[in-house]
Every structure is written in structure tokens, then in C-alpha cells.
Symmetry: D2
């Protein structure tokens, strides 16, 4: 960490600041120039509150050199983490496809889709029971009944289930869920992160629409700091000025996340683009960029989907996508 002092700071003030840094166990290096003085701090700066430093009147600016996340940091954990979901492994060379409808709508719908995607090679079933919707007048999901239907689909197909948690008070309902999803809008719902951190369930953590890679990893750090290290990171598009696509899928985040963290990284091309015909090319690109998995919306009847029909692909389209993805995987690993 680097602190730049304001012009005119006295020798005494500088010494007193440096002493304070030393009490925090940091090594302090001072570089004095004609126009400015820079203080370099070496050691574990992850627990320094940067806002506190910036508030000091003698400091002009503070820059972090090392990342503020620690448990999620590859520097301190060189090997890939592998998340194991009842035997389905993801990360460290294990690639998985998570597929299913945006919302669970009925027993026949979820089971039809689950059986179809399993046949095409998906190893995890996704489906929303509690749905975050921008408008209070839009369909909010089947809620508890949706969870029951997901569990029934798991019983029939053996596919572990991934579904979104929006409210800490729903946690008891999620006891039999295999992977808890934290949605983009809740990526910085720190109260929710702390609570899922206390469970022993794998968490799929989606990047917020306007959150940086660093903030995404700080949210993973929240969960890990509460004791749960089974985290799957999910890139799902960010908000930019471009309006042709719903969001802009940031695929360079995939290799960047792999460099910064040991946690597995999956990509959701459905929400990123908002259009079904863009799902296949973006899924292939994600795999070529090195993703450890895909999360794809599949619906047996997208035209009558109660939510996000425009971005859902059919089981037939998913089958083709899965086949092409497998071939890309072979090239990647050759």
C-alpha cells in the first residue's frame, strides 16, 4: 500500500503516522521528493480500512498495491479449488453445465426440462423459485412450491439443484437445496452473504451488474470469512452504455479471475445477452476463454415461459450447444 502525503506535512506528523503503521505490523519505507513524499507499506494490508487513511488531512491519496482479499486470493492458495456438489466436481479441470428454466412453473415443466438437459450432458439443474423482478407487478416465482418441485425433479433425475436465495429468512426452506445461488442484485447484500457463509452448502455467487472484479472477490471473501469456502464465481454480464444486448458479457473476467483467485468460475450467457440466439456463440466463447462451467436457461416452451422467455433456448438447442461445447473443451485441453 502506498500513501502519498500532502505538501507541507511536518517531519513530526510524518513520524507519528509511520509509528502508527508500525504498530499495525507493517514495514514502512519513506521516499521524499521535492514535490511529494510517498510512504510505502509492506506486509498484510488487507485489514487496513482505506477510507480511514484517506480521511487523514495529511494524506493526499492512498493506493493499494496488493489486493484487499485474502482467503479468495490465489497468491496464498496456488492450487485451484474444487467444489464438490454431492460428487459433481467443478474447478481444477472439472467442467460442468448447469441448465434449466429461469423459473420453475409446474411439475411437468421442470421434470421435462431436467430430463432433457441431463440427457444432453448437464450435471446440475437450475430453476428459480424465488424471483427478483424489477417490477412488483411481474411474476415473482412459485416460491416454496417451486422448491418442492425442484426437489422432485432431483429425485427423478439425480441432478443436484441450484436455486436463488433472496431472504435470510428463507434459509430453512433451502435445507435440501444443493447449491445456493446469490443473484447479481444481492451480490452486495452483505447480511445475506454472512448468513450463507455460516451454512455448509456450496454457493454460486453472481457478479453484480455494475460490480468490479475486485468487489466480486470481496463478496466471496465475506462468505469465506464466515467459514464457507465452497464458492463458485459466476460472470453474467455487466452494465455498459451499449443497448443492443441486455448486458455486456465480460469474458476477459474469466482468465482474470483465474489469475486472481483459486475459486472456480462459470459463465451465464443467457442473462448476459438476453437473447436466445446469442446464447450458443457466447457459451462457446466462454468455454474457449477457459470457463469451468456454464449456466444456461433452457425451457421446453420458451414462448410461454413466465419469465425471460426471450433468452431461453429449447432442449434441442441445448443439445447442440452441449455437443459443440464439448469439442471446444477438447481444443482447450489439447
Amino acid at each position: 500500500m502506498i500513501a502519498v502525503l500532502r505538501q507541507g506535512v511536518s517531519q513530526e506528523q510524518t513520524s507519528s503516522l509511520c509509528d502508527w503503521f508500525k504498530t499495525m505490523g507493517l514495514q514502512v519505507h519513506i521516499s521524499e521528493g521535492e514535490y511529494q513524499t510517498i510512504i510505502g507499506l509492506i506486509g498484510d494490508t488487507s485489514k487496513i480500512d482505506i477510507g480511514l487513511l484517506e480521511g487523514l488531512s495529511i494524506i493526499e491519496s492512498v493506493k493499494r498495491i496488493s489486493e484487499p482479499f485474502k482467503s479468495a486470493n490465489r497468491k496464498f492458495h496456488a492450487d485451484d479449488s474444487v467444489v464438490d456438489i454431492n460428487g459433481v466436481k467443478i474447478g481444477g479441470g472439472h467442467f460442468q453445465m448447469i441448465a434449466g428454466p429461469c423459473s420453475v412453473e409446474s411439475e411437468s415443466q421442470i421434470i421435462t426440462v431436467a430430463e432433457a438437459v441431463k440427457k444432453s450432458g448437464a450435471s446440475l439443474l437450475r430453476g428459480g423459485a424465488f424471483k427478483p423482478r424489477t417490477s412488483p407487478y411481474d411474476f415473482q416465482g412459485l416460491q416454496a412450491e417451486g422448491l418442492t418441485l425442484l426437489l422432485e425433479a432431483r429425485r427423478r433425475t439425480g441432478l443436484p439443484i441450484v436455486t436463488e436465495l433472496m431472504n435470510v429468512n428463507h434459509l430453512p426452506l433451502f435445507e435440501d437445496v444443493d447449491v445456493i445461488q446469490i443473484g447479481a442484485r444481492n451480490m452486495q447484500n452483505f447480511e445475506l452473504l454472512k448468513e450463507v457463509g455460516k451454512t455448509n452448502k456450496p454457493v454460486l455467487l453472481k457478479r453484480g451488474l455494475a460490480n468490479t472484479i475486485k468487489e466480486l472477490l470481496m463478496s466471496a471473501e465475506y462468505i469465506m470469512a464466515s467459514g464457507n469456502e465452497q464458492i463458485i464465481i459466476c460472470e453474467r454480464g455487466i452494465r455498459t452504455f451499449e443497448t443492443y444486448t441486455r448486458n455486456t458479457l465480460d469474458l476477459s473476467a474469466v482468465p482474470m479471475l483465474h489469475r486472481l483467485t483459486h475459486l472456480p468460475v462459470v459463465v451465464d450467457p443467457s442473462h448476459a445477452t438476453g437473447m436466445s440466439w446469442l446464447v450458443e456463440p457466447m457459451a462457446m466463447a466462454a468455454v474457449a476463454a477457459g470457463a469451468d462451467g456454464l449456466m444456461v436457461e433452457v425451457h421446453n416452451d420458451p414462448e410461454h415461459a413466465l419469465c425471460d422467455g426471450a433468452q431461453s433456448i429449447t432442449p434441442e438447442q441445448f443439445d447442440r450447444l452441449a455437443e459443440r461445447v464439448r469439442k471446444i473443451r477438447e481444443v482447450i485441453h489439447s
Copy 2:
């Protein structure tokens, strides 16, 4: 609402779609051209789920002409709403300053600040008890004890208090709070919005870092749809590519919100800029743009603030700001 059909849609498909629209009580107007057919829908389209329409294979695109929010919409409520906080009125020509520290730190701190800002003309006291922090290692607020200290400051000064709610389970603790703040990171925490919608307390709803004005009003709509119409909207800066300031304060949102909604609009120049020396010029600009109030971080000792010291101003600086703001108000109303 306008729906553009894909090329090659049959007469029959078009009729069947139009019939469906009519069952929803909408008037339907068809415009057929050489290259495209456009369907115009007139009536209350606020409850149509646009995602559903976009999912239909015969539809190329859908555009809303009227806004999807209704209770918050000025079109259906021409007069300014006035929110009354135990006699302190905001909106409809009533202007108020909300001031106080980022975090409540101690009894002497909160009372010192409360007395000072009251003397300078603030009519509401802000102070964080539960703090949303990007890092799990940063100070998280005094929590329940912070609320107690805020109530003590109210008892001493008479200033109603505004403080942030992050977790629905904390609601019982907020029973005596005057205004519940929903922070930027929770603007789309729909579960939280529904719950504060069931209370009878005024809500100060902050715009999310990357949320559009439309989404901000849809979040207000969530609260109103649950029965609570006492909402104060707060602009506090959005995330852009510019890095010199923490966020980019979007002041054109102030007159735009006044046109779109009848709810009062306040501005928080402290979080928007992240630097104390920018607070005064941006506060003045906000008032010149027509804001109904300001929310300003004031700390008696910013250098030792446990949170956001860099953006806090001193009581002396607030006193000067308040004086200058009053003069701008006179110009605005002349």
C-alpha cells in the same frame, strides 16, 4: 407499448396475438408496412410483463411508450407529495437538510454533531448503526448500540433520525426510528422493499450505483405497492468510467425525477464525491438544480472517523454550507 412483429408472421398469428391483447383490456392498433408490422397498445400497460412478450417467436422487439410505474408516476398524481416526519415536512416547496456522521461512534460524538448541525439549520439527524462495507474486515457499525445512541441524540436535540436498514430481521429494532434508509446496495433488495412497504414509516430510498432512474422509480413502486407511500428519493452518484471522483453525481436526475414522479428528491453530495472539499460546491449545485433537500456527512473529528472520514465535513464547514445553501434557495424561489 409498441410491439414490432418479425417478417413473415401470418395474418392468423397476428390476429390471435391482438385478441390476447384485447383480453387484457388494451386497445390495439396495427400498422402494416412493406418490411414490418407494428402493433400499438393503448391503455394500462404497466402490468404487462415485457419479458413475456419478448419471448414470443413472432415478436422482434417491444418498446414501452409509457412508464411501467404507476403509484409513483406524476401523470396520475400531478401535485407534489409532501412527506411529513413528525412535523418536519419535505417536498412540495419544503426543503430540509439531513446531516450527521457516516457512523455513530459514541454518545459524545453523535450528540456533539447533532447539536452542531441543528444549530446550523439541519432538521433531521443521520447516522449509521448498521454499515454496509465492501470488506468483511472493515468496521461494520455499532449496530443495536448505535440505534440507542441515535435515539438519545434525538431526545436531546429533538431532531428526528434517519438510519439505514440492511436486514428485515432488524425491523423490530427500528421501531422508534423516524425514517428508514434503504442504501444504494439494497435498492433492488426486493424482499427488503416489500417489508418496509408494510411499515408506516417514511423511507429514504437511495439510488443504486448502477441503477437507472426508471429502476429507481420501480423500487419506489415496490414500496408503494405494499402500502407505504411516504418515500423520499435520494440521488447519490452513479458508477461511470471516471475515476477522479468516487462516483459521478447525476444532477440532471433531480429535475428529471421531479418531472416523472411526485415524490420529494434529495441529494447526497458526500457519498457522490467521496471528498470533503467537493461537498460544498456539489451541495450548492444540487440546490440550484431544484433538490428538495440535502443529506450531508458531518463529523466533529473527520480525521478520526471510523468510516468515510475523507468525505465528511466539520460542523464549521457545514455551518458555512448551510448559510450558502439558504441563499441559493432564495434565488431559486425568486
Copy 3:
């Protein structure tokens, strides 16, 4: 095109507006509702100046339904355009790699790199002679001498050359250049676009840092409207809030551009990411997303490059990349 009238517009004003639209050869359809009147315009609206309409006091808003570009529009030109550069074809199934250093620095440098990338399968040589630099104190390129060295490298290797034009007055110097590049910062330098539109040389048009896909195609339209239809579109990353990468590569632009235009689309992973280790994964992802070509910075000694060394890969890394890209191409075409 849809025009929404303001409330309270008289029958007479509406008729007069509609008559005016009809004189422009448009079909006019009026939909009247309780709260608003919508006018649908069918026909060739690409030449309507939307700003003019928005300026009318009786109009609330105007929305385009069809794209404002015509020559570049796939709707009016269903087949892929193939750009032929002295026998090197790009588009319509023809894939090409453009490689070379950011800046031409010396004869030995450019020839060494040209021979290496040719051997690895590149079919076009890139190299900057005139360099747009953010700082006036940074290296501005070898200028005319750089062009001479590029031509020498072409003479030795047979690779056609691609280089950037920044000033219409340099056009005479570009007489022997094979492909004129318009850089991101000049994408909306309309004077430059008009002039290259009058030449008969293929143009590689890069997307501006903050330009939408629509604006990119409008810039292609400028060149086409001046008579030159040999355009290669290049996605090279857009500016977002994320700071870990220099820009955010927008790969969904690749299939989106293929749907909107018949022009070939290439991707520049070097400028998009700014880091050499990200070039290979992003190149592979671009090809998986369907790009018609890649533009890659290769330098024989990146550590001593006078420009953009951080994002240049070595000839050995390019050789590996080219091999892997070929395998992805096979999957794409299977």
C-alpha cells in the same frame, strides 16, 4: 419510426404533422388513446433526422424501429460481403489473421516480425507508422519512414499491410498501403471517414472506446455513402467501470454485428485487454464467437517495444495461438 404526441395536441396539429410525413413518402398510422396518441411511420425512415422531430413542441418522444443505416444493413444485403485484399479474402467464411508490432521501429524489427508471423499463418501485416498517443510526450511513431519500412516488409514477405491513417493530408503517403485502418479515437472523425470513402482501398474500421454498435455501423455508412464498400469492422474493447483490464472486450458484438450487417468482423484482443497473457484466451474466445479474423500485436522483443509492450506477444506465443485458433475454427465449422 414511432412518434408519441404530447397530451393536448389539437386535431389540426396532428393532421398537419401527418401530411408532412406523407410528403416524405411515408405511410402514417395513428393510434389514439385516452392518455396519448402514437403515430407509426412506415417506409424508408433512414434519412429522417430524428433530432428535427424531437424538436417539435407537439412531440413527446420519437423511437426508431428500423436501423438508421442502409448500405451496411444486412436486411438489404443478405449475403456476407467478402473483402478482397490483393487476393487475401476476409468474410463469408474466409478467416484471416492480421499480426505485427504496435509500432514500426526499425527495418530489422518489422522484417523479423513479418517473417515470423507469416510462418505461423498470418496473412496480413499490421504496424503503426503514425501513432495516436494520449500524451504529447510519448513516442508518436516513425511516420513516413515507418510506411517505407512496412512496404519493404511487404516486398520481402508478400504480406499485404494494414496501417493507421490519422490525417487526411497523409493520404498521398498511403497510396501503396493495402488496408487503411481508422483507429478507435477517429471512429467519429467524419471528415476522415468521408475521405477514405473516396478511395478504393479496403478500410479496417475500429469501434470507438465508447461507441455503440449502432454508431459503429453509422460510421461504416459514412464510408459507404462516399462510395467505398470494402469495410472490415473491428471490435477492440469498450470503456466500462471495470479497471482490471484496459478495456472490456465486447464479444457479443461479434454475433450481433453479423446479424445487423453483411460486413466482415474481426477482433483485436491486444488493445482490448492491454495484457499479453490475456491475448490468447481472448483470441480463442473471439474465434469461438464467430469472428472473421483476428488482429494481434506481435513483437520480437516486447520488453523493448517503444509502444504497448505490455500487450504484445512474442512470435513463439503467436505461433501457439495460431495453432490453437485453427483448431477452434474447425469446431466452429463442423
Copy 4:
């Protein structure tokens, strides 16, 4: 400037790098830690090409501590610069209003508007002769004839004129123009910047749609490095995700620019918002934020403007705006 070395760099490599820095006249300070080594560089780093450093394999990252601009930097020029346009002074406490139509359309139009805005207190006349338009099919300005009409308006009213230059070859036509405007889309047209830097005319430099404050000042530095120090900086809105307004006016840029540079700063609320009813509130906010001037589009008949009618205000509206702005100025200076 701070350079962070990669892990595993040898003592010898470090020494050799430091020696190189010293030959550039920099003081070098090394801070070695367990996980990383940081090199602090003190001295004039404005001429170091940061891209070159980032390209070195032994360097992990480089961060600038001091700004890369020098002539424009307030650190080296503490007093406000005052730009004098034939006696009309701007900056250093001098406030001016620049007003006029988007495009010059006819003699009667430009003279009517010029006389009206002069009467209301404007001291400079703006008007476009060469117009940068996104579509090649939109009105491109009266060009040379427009300049003649502007000069006629100056002869009649005495108001110096401000008009946009898009092409270095048009410079001879601009011989009698008082202030050359560089538009947002040409802010990084470095060839144009160099040429206007060689003239002795004041330059009004507009911020690009997606350019940072630092890049804006680097473009000013280009002009200054060529010898012309009479520059007026203009904030005119940046591109963000918000779509309700055309751009997002970044008013915090006003005090920030005042801190970073000694050059005068004006604000263009017309282009920033794109809507005439937003011009007055945003003009007032700009002045409250400390702008040294305003640039406002005024048209005698906005409904029939050939360009940007939606954002033009009438002379009557300008008169009211000017009156209110004067009152805000009084508060600012009290």
C-alpha cells in the same frame, strides 16, 4: 511513480532497472517486502511512457502518483489563467455566457439570435458552420457560407464568435474566427490538436463523451505543447448507462478541474441533457458549482431548427436563464 516488481526478480535485474531510472534524472527508492518489491520514483515523471514500463517482464504494475500533464497543471501554475478574446475575459473571476444556435441556418436567423442573446447578457456568439453528425444523411451545416454569416453577425453585434473546426484543411477559412471549438468527438484527434496548438487563437476544448478528466487535460497539454496556452475547457456530459438524458452532465468535474488546472472551465448544459426544459436547472447548477461560463444553444424558432431543436431554448427563455444565473453568481461570490 510507483513500479511494483514481479515475485522472483533478481537483485541484478532490480539494480539494472534502477540505474536506468537514474539516467532519466529520477530519484529511486526501493521498498522490499516478503511478497513484493516496490520502486518509488521521484522527480519529473511526466515524460515517462508508462506503456514502456508495463511492457517489462520484471514489472507487475505501474501507478502514477503525479499527473502526466505539466503545462496545464495547477501545481506548476497556481494562479487562474485568464483567456482574453478581444477584450472579453474568461477565467480568474471573469464569467461569460456563450450563446447561439446549434447551426447557422440563414443571415436573418443568426442575426436575430445574436442580437437577442447580446441583449440578455451573452458576450460571445456560438454557431456551427461545419457540423459533426452521426448519420451521413443528416444536415452537415452551411460550411464556408456559415462562417461568412457568423462574421456578419459579429460585425452587426460586436460579439466575438466561437465555432467548431473539424478538419485541419479548413483552418484558412477560420482566420477571422475568434475562438476555435474542438468538439467532443475530436477531443482525441491529436493531429487537429497539434495544428490548433500552432495558431494564436483561443481554443474551446470540449470533453469527449467517454473521456476522463485526465485525458481531457492531456488533450489540453497537446495544444499547449504546440505553443498555444489560451484554452477554455468545456464539460458537456459523459456517456453512462442512464438513458433518460442524452448524456450525464458531470458537474463534479467543474471543481475537480479547478483544482487540477489553472485553465478556465465552462459548461454546456444543452448538449449534456438534450432537452430544452433541462437547460435552465442544469445551467444554474453549473454556475453554483463554480463554472467560469456557460455555453447555451438558443434558437429563435426551435421547432424549425435544422439541428438539435429539442435542446435549444428560445431567446425569451435565455433571457430568464441569464437573469437567474446572475443571481446565483452573486451568491457564489458573496
